[in-house]
């Protein structure tokens, strides 16, 4: 396991490579992630060619259990987001060691 990249690291590269200032870069990283979230919340899948697809799935209600007290409950129906990595990304990471 290597290090952890954060929004700050992503923004720093934009400063270096596009010449945006620090605040603009950070704002742009936030704007990008926000726009993806907003699309997903509006029911839109987000397909980024080469990188991967963020796909929404609707899950039905199912019986569950509260892990803390063992009580049986119903897990409410929900929408979840899944990520299907693109071919290019898969190829890039599969044999890293």
């Amino acid at each position: 396991m290597g290090k952890t990249l954060t929004k700050t690291d992503l923004a720093a590269r934009l400063v270096d490579q596009i010449g945006l200032n620090r605040a603009e870069s950070r704002e742009l990283v936030d704007a990008l992630l926000n726009e993806i979230s907003t699309a997903l919340c509006a029911g839109e899948d987000v397909r980024l060619w080469g990188f991967g697809n963020f796909i929404l799935r609707d899950k039905a209600a199912r019986p569950g259990r509260n892990p803390r007290n063992g009580e049986e409950t119903v897990i409410v129906p929900r929408r979840v987001v899944t990520f299907r990595p693109g071919q290019k990304l898969r190829k890039k990471v599969e044999g890293h060691e």
Partner: protein, 104 residues
């Protein structure tokens, strides 16, 4: 898990358009370049087995797949696949909760 019927979708260029509309002080060219750089950076990080943690949105990391014998469906040849890694995304708490609340 059922796939959604009539699911609408957006692609990279639509995403860039939406960002550009709201970030009027940035040129569309810079936004386009920045989006490309961000995803390249995430991909590079994953290729080095770095974790990418984007607070609120989610995190990307690698999951290890066990080595296995595989069969080429076209030729029927058996090949040994070594340990492989696949990218994994875990949505962040705030994205998960937003989606769940909107869906209720």
């Amino acid at each position: 898990m059922p796939a959604r019927e009539n699911a609408s979708q957006i692609n990279r260029s639509q995403l860039i358009d939406r960002i550009t509309t709201k970030q009027k002080h940035l040129s569309p060219r810079d936004v386009d370049e920045a989006v490309k750089l961000v995803f390249d950076h995430i991909a590079e990080g994953l290729a080095q087995n770095d974790r990418v943690e984007l607070r609120g949105f989610g995190s990307f990391s690698l999951r290890e797949r066990q080595p296995r014998m595989a069969c080429n469906p076209r030729t029927g040849d058996h090949v040994m696949l070594g340990t492989r890694h696949v990218p994994h995304f875990k949505p962040g708490k705030s994205l998960r909760e937003r989606l769940r609340d909107l869906f209720q």
